[in-house]
């Protein structure tokens, strides 16, 4: 019997590596279509097409370039970027991996898992310090950066359709009202038989559509 739920790994990949905007709607559409009889292969194909490979390749390239620059002994002298003994190829791999982890991990994990990972990193680093103090000194900055990003970096939220201030966010989106008004006017205009009235409706809609979305609401001192 076919499962009602789409493949877990594919759904996870879509959630974390898919498009930021409309990710939820896309995941819902794929789920709906899958439950209506599409195959797992189809679901995987759709997920692979939705993943933003160019963006992720760019993150990887950025990390590799910065990893390479930071670990370059000629720039930083024989001490390497991080101080201590120079272990150049290993440095590049470790720094690049840390930068990639800083980019992705905070967005993938929830609060409790972040706290657990920070504790795990601290414990592993203390253990490393007990056995290989030179390595612990050499890579000191990396677990600090990773823990910092896990504690303070949050997953980027998709932008609202129009720029909104905090007050607008709390009071509701005024642009929704504008959109509803336009929809209602368009409906009335379609039913209207009088040409003059239709023209008046069309003008009102044009004015509403051309209006700038509300910007910052000035706070009273």
């Amino acid at each position: 019997m076919k499962s009602l739920n789409p493949p877990r790994l594919a759904a996870w990949l879509l959630e974390h590596f898919g498009p930021e905007v409309n990710n939820e709607a896309l995941a819902g559409d794929l789920c709906e279509d899958f439950r209506q009889g599409r195959s797992k292969a189809w679901y995987w194909r759709q997920v692979m097409a939705a993943i933003q490979w160019r963006h992720h390749l760019r993150v990887l390239l950025d990390s590799a370039v910065f990893g390479w620059l930071l670990s370059w002994p000629v720039i930083w002298g024989s001490q390497g970027a991080l101080g201590g003994a120079t272990i150049w190829p290993l440095d590049m791999v470790v720094i690049t991996s840390t930068l990639v982890a800083i980019n992705y991990l905070p967005g993938m994990l929830r609060g409790i898992w972040r706290a657990f990972l920070v504790l795990l990193i601290a414990t592993l680093f203390l253990l490393l310090g007990c056995y290989r103090l030179d390595l612990a000194k050499h890579y000191f900055i990396l677990p600090m950066l990773l823990s910092g990003s896990l504690m303070f970096k949050r997953k980027k939220q998709p932008p609202p359709s129009f720029p909104m201030t905090y007050r607008e966010l709390l009071q509701g989106d005024p642009n929704q009202e504008r959109k509803r008004l336009i929809t209602s006017l368009e409906g009335t205009m379609e039913q209207e038989s009088n040409a003059e009235l239709r023209q008046a409706y069309a003008q009102a809609i044009t004015v509403l559509e051309s209006q700038e979305p509300p910007t910052a609401v000035k706070e009273k001192p």
Partner: protein
């Protein structure tokens, strides 16, 4: 020195991505964008991803990636040719909400302009009127 130059080239090559992203923001409608807009119009404006992709599949006879449909809709929304509203989450969609799209008047105008331009280009072509080139 050679490696420093190499790193500069690497950093510079990243600008390529910016150029590609900017190219996508052009004003005129692309082939797929036009198809998405026409599908939206055929579906009476209140449509979401699944019916839009099915309409394109049925009319054009090719499988469409839902991700591409949403990417096109996102670009169209940025250009102000399409607007969207979030629906309510439903159990059949795994608790995810639908996003309904509708074409704006500006979008309708753009489609009409594209149609006129294509009609002008098609007129008087001997290959399309049965004659051999």
């Amino acid at each position: 020195m050679r490696t420093a130059f190499g790193s500069l080239i690497c950093l510079h090559s990243l600008d390529l991505f910016v150029i590609i992203e900017e190219m996508a923001k052009r004003n005129n409608l692309g082939d797929f964008e036009l198809m998405v807009m026409l599908a939206l119009m055929r579906l009476d404006n209140d449509a979401y991803g699944v019916p839009i992709s099915r309409e394109i599949e049925q009319q054009c006879g090719r499988e469409v990636a839902l991700g591409s449909v949403y990417a096109a809709l996102e670009r169209l929304e940025e250009k102000g040719l399409v607007s969207s509203d979030l629906g309510k989450p439903t159990a059949e969609r795994g608790g995810k909400a639908k996003r309904y799209f509708r074409i704006t008047r500006n979008g309708l105008r753009k489609v009409q302009e594209a149609r006129k331009a294509l009609m002008k280009l098609w007129q008087g072509l001997p290959e399309l009127e049965g004659a051999r080139p």
